[in-house]
């Protein structure tokens, strides 16, 4: 293995390859694109949360000049219209009934967007309204009807992870248990117990959903989409239209952010069905308001208790988690699985029992949200660690250090041992925050941490093309979603092939050109695609060596590899020179490839543990209840930062996103209706919300399975932010908040209640 100092390209903060194009506006996103003969679609949405569709009258709309066609649930004969990678419960357009306000009921296809919109107003839908099931308790109550009356087929990823769904309105149940929690609680010295609520949030990305689909006369389907998971979209489209995989091509141009909201299939089946019906390429561009009605994060109610013995050692944790999953499963079965795993936290706990349920309701379907269940459960988990530290009479950092898993220690039976230095990270965060300084009034400090089983299912295939002129292409199915993966993958290829970074080009994602990649998610791209690119380069180099031996007439073992080529005695050849001599022809190229799967050192799950360690100092305005951030520290325990500046950017971005649910963000329903689904009313973090002092540190112990010992980052810091703020608030005021976000009014009310209690 190379020493760190030997790296020529990786571990350097090179500028982003797409930076100039994005800043100057020349980068092409799906919204910027048009294809020949393209028509536009607009969607009519349900005004009811639960209703039967009695009739749809499109005759008036049909007479609109410029109208091409209308698609409704009655037009889908010949298709398999239900999709979903976890549960195939999601009709591409409402069929016979609607399950949330905002569900697509009809799509109008017209020559231009405005005409399509005008025709929408002429469609008359007759509904029979049914009692809406709007919250988890109602959904689970005896006698409540099922939101989905049939049992659906499993989607693609059921085959990968084995966790059975459940019945009634439970979309997914996951149980995690070891030891004997009842016995442990019975004898525990200290117990913290409570109910917590993490709000319904929207993973706001600047670019709303957009797709162009072209279902051509030969039965070939081409889709351009702002999709994070092109291969999963391809899978769903192939299933819906009964097409072979090679007839579905999903191309992903630049994507304007996702944060979970772009994961898996969204509007692509609907747009493709519009094209299929109209016989024209069709574009559908949603507004931000429509995006709010397309997906959201699961809100979570968590009943949890945690126990420690007299020495301050954790002995048990038990939790029941209810996720409000909305009308369709989307990725919530996976959120359910991950929430159940992640609530245990990075601690050594001998007795654990977690029961997690994803529950259908008649609200916007919930799906991935950065951290996949991590943010929802780290809030209760880390809040309770502070509560127990206090009960044990122990400093909260010391209490954590006593209980955190050491590097290589196994805390989840059957899973990969911890591949990070958690105690070191927490100690460092406490040092950076200077926890020992006296606190000013209204100030509070805390450090919190999380460990997430990240990386998803490791199936990652990559190709590199090495050209005889010294240039290199990386063909990757990972999506450049703003995280900088195209830059990082290019750095790895440049490092391995010994070529300048400018000579490396990234191709993808395009399912007709790039090989399968299961996911651009779970913080895995640097770890898995990065490693696949490295291995593909190594494979190309191995081929070059055989060629060089033949060209030079020496045994391959006699060649000495140097960066960028080989040496044989006094003779030096670069890889491109070898190719030219071997083929005796200009313009040739060879392919190196790598197929990663769940085998070898990738057999154990998770692929890696993603660590989140943050510290904050808050300032509270006690009169208004407003919390602001004085200081933020983040630790990125990433093995090796291929691009340190971008890695820190991920930590700061994740921490800032975490501020959202921590302080402001909450989707509010009034009855059936989402009340604040616009950017004027839904409050995301702003630059002005950033901490006055930000300090970030990268820990690079090269302890991951990725290239050069790298591991993923990008989702870690989102998880511990909200409990960190809540714990700091407790330190400042003695008030324990168990409901997010910590809005000024909520905090003010809690302070009032505390005062009232104190005076009685």
């Amino acid at each position: 293995m190379k020493e760190r100092s030997e790296f020529a390209v990786v571990n350097h903060s090179v500028p982003r390859g797409d930076g100039i194009a994005k800043v100057t506006g020349s980068a092409v996103y799906t919204s910027d694109m048009a294809v020949e003969h393209m028509a536009w679609a607009k969607v009519l949405r349900s005004p009811f949360a639960r209703a039967r569709i009695l009739s749809i009258d499109i005759s008036q709309a049909k007479s609109q000049p410029g109208l091409i066609d209308v698609l409704t649930g009655g037009d889908l004969k010949g298709l398999s219209p239900y999709y979903g990678h976890g549960v195939r419960d999601h009709p591409l357009i409402a069929i016979g009934q609607v399950r949330f306000v905002g569900e697509p009921v009809a799509a109008v296809i017209a020559e231009d967007e405005l005409t399509a919109q005008e025709a929408l107003g002429k469609i008359v839908v007759e509904y029979e309204e049914l009692d809406a099931i709007l919250d988890v308790d109602t959904a689970l109550a005896q006698g409540t009807p099922r939101i989905h009356e049939t049992d659906f087929a499993d989607g693609a990823f059921r085959g990968f992870d084995d966790f059975p769904g459940a019945a009634g309105n439970i979309c997914q149940a996951v149980h995690v248990a070891w030891g004997d929690v009842d016995a442990a609680f019975a004898v525990a010295a200290h117990i913290a117990e409570g109910e917590f609520y993490f709000p319904m949030v929207y993973a706001y990305a600047m670019e709303p959903y957009v797709a162009i689909a072209d279902y051509d006369a030969k039965g070939q389907l081409t889709v351009y989409s702002s999709a994070q998971h092109p291969f999963m979209v391809r899978h769903d489209l192939a299933q819906v239209f009964g097409l072979p995989l090679n007839s579905v091509r999903v191309i992903v141009p630049y994507v304007g952010g996702g944060y979970g909201s772009k994961s898996y299939t969204k509007i692509e089946p609907l747009v493709a069905a519009c094209s299929w019906k109209a016989g024209r390429p069709v574009k559908l561009q949603l507004s931000v308001e429509e995006a709010f009605l397309t997906t959201r994060g699961d809100d979570a109610r968590v009943r949890i208790r945690t126990a420690a013995d007299a020495k301050g050692q954790l002995v048990a944790r038990q939790a029941t988690i209810h996720l409000n999953t909305g009308a369709y499963a989307e990725n919530s079965p996976m959120v359910c699985r991950k929430a159940a795993n992640r609530i245990v936290g990075p601690y050594r706990i001998p007795n654990v029992k977690i029961d997690c349920f994803a529950v259908y309701t008649n609200t916007v379907p919930a799906s991935s949200y950065r951290g996949l269940g991590g943010a929802q459960v780290t809030f209760p988990g880390e809040s309770q660690i502070d509560e127990l530290a206090e009960k044990s009479g122990c400093d909260s950092v010391e209490f954590r250090l006593k209980n955190l898993a050491q590097s290589r220690e196994s805390i989840h039976p059957g899973m990969r041992p911890i591949d990070a230095d958690l105690p070191g990270d927490v100690r460092e965060a406490a040092r950076m925050l200077r926890m020992d300084r006296p606190l000013a009034p209204g100030r509070g400090r805390a450090v919190c941490c999380s460990a997430s089983d990240a990386g998803a299912h490791p199936v990652t295939l990559a190709m590199v093309q090495i050209y005889a002129d010294g240039s290199v292409s990386v063909l990757s199915g990972s999506t450049e979603i703003g995280q900088g993966s195209h830059t990082v993958l290019a750095q790895i290829a440049a490092e391995e092939m010994g070529v300048p970074l400018e000579k490396v080009r990234l191709v993808g994602s395009d399912t007709a050109v790039t090989l399968f990649e299961r996911s651009t998610g779970a913080s895995r791209t640097t770890t898995l695609m990065g490693r696949a690119v490295l291995e593909a380069c190594r494979e190309a180099i191995a081929q070059c060596k055989v060629m060089a031996a033949e060209v030079l007439g020496v045994p391959a073992e006699a060649l000495v590899e140097e960066r960028g080529g080989i040496r044989s005695g006094e003779t030096r050849l670069t890889w491109s020179e070898i190719l030219e001599k071997y083929f005796q022809m200009e313009g040739c190229s060879i392919i190196g490839r790598a197929y990663l799967r769940k085998a070898g050192d990738l057999k154990l799950v998770p692929v890696f543990w993603e660590i989140g360690v943050v510290g904050v100092e808050i300032a509270l305005d006690e009169e208004t209840g407003r919390i602001t951030l004085e200081s933020l520290v983040t630790i990125g325990d990433v093995g090796l930062a291929i691009n340190p500046a971008m890695t820190e950017g991920q930590d700061l971005g994740a921490a800032t996103m975490g501020l959202g649910a921590g302080l402001f963000e909450e989707l509010i329903y009034d009855g059936q209706q989402l009340m604040n689904g616009t950017m004027l009313e839904y409050r995301v973090p702003r630059f002005s919300d950033l901490a006055n002092n930000v300090e970030m540190k990268l820990v690079q112990n090269r302890d991951g399975v990725g290239p050069y010992g790298a591991k993923g980052g990008g989702e870690g810091a989102v998880n511990p932010i909200s409990p960190c703020i809540a714990n700091a608030l407790h330190q400042a005021t003695g008030v324990r908040m168990r409901t997010l976000p910590l809005t000024p009014e909520r905090v003010w009310k809690a302070l009032q209640e505390k005062k009232a209690r104190a005076s009685t």
């Binding site: 405005l114 005008e118 308001e289 009169e623 208004t624 616009t678 004027l680 009313e681 409050r683 809005t743």
Partner: protein, 290 residues
Amino acid sequence: MTTLSRFEIHQPASVLEASQMLAQYGDDAGIYAGGTELLLAMKHAALNYRHLIDLKVILGLNSINVRNGSLEIGATSAHRSIERSAIVRQNQPALAEMESQVANVRVRVTGTLGGNLCFAEPHSDPATLLLVLGGTVRAESATGAREIPVAELIAGAYANNFLPGEVLTKITVPCAKPSHRAGYMKFQVHERPTLGLGLWMETPDDGRTFTSARVAVGCVCPFPTRGVEAEKVLTGSRGEVEKRLPEAADLIADAADLVDDHEGSVEYKRHLIHIFLRRVFRKALREPVS
């Protein structure tokens, strides 16, 4: 939100022509100034105009002058130009300061003071401050012109008292005098403020006594509201006034029609009035706020 529906833009050469266009197209027409409220409302189909009359193209309608002891601000002056205007800063610093806190810089560069007042959005910062600064607006039409106090311009949430064909052309604000103290503060969590509080006081002796006061609250209620009863208790020596601030805060809250909404409960809004009346009092006296 939807795509903007079809409309035509008209570019009048004068206020008279704009007024005639308004009369001609009736309910189908609306004035288009910065468009920051108008276009959003049209995208949400809250307003449906087929004809937009672009006021920004009328020369001179964005000028800022001082005349007869008052600032005269043309209706199409953008928040940003008022905020940065040396004339405003010099003659009514509280107004310039308030303007610098409106929305974000993109909205301030485009949005106009006239548009803000005409739209009568309940969370308007300028309307609340202008109530206490004694601002008036000039409404002109083909048949004449009239001067309306800001208090009478606003008819309610999103409603103004213009007659058909009337165009707001000018906002007049008395200049600050050495004996005046004025300030505006807001509390904001979301995109629009939760509370706005404006205070104006007259002091002949550099803040030792106050001979008259005007106070107004906005955002917490459907339209900015003067606390007329509160103003009565805000005169006297500084010590007396300070002691009566809680009483005044309650009188302001009583005068305003406080509403529960996602900005906050009535109880919280009443509390904020207390906190911010004290803060804005200090601020008006150019003292540290807390």
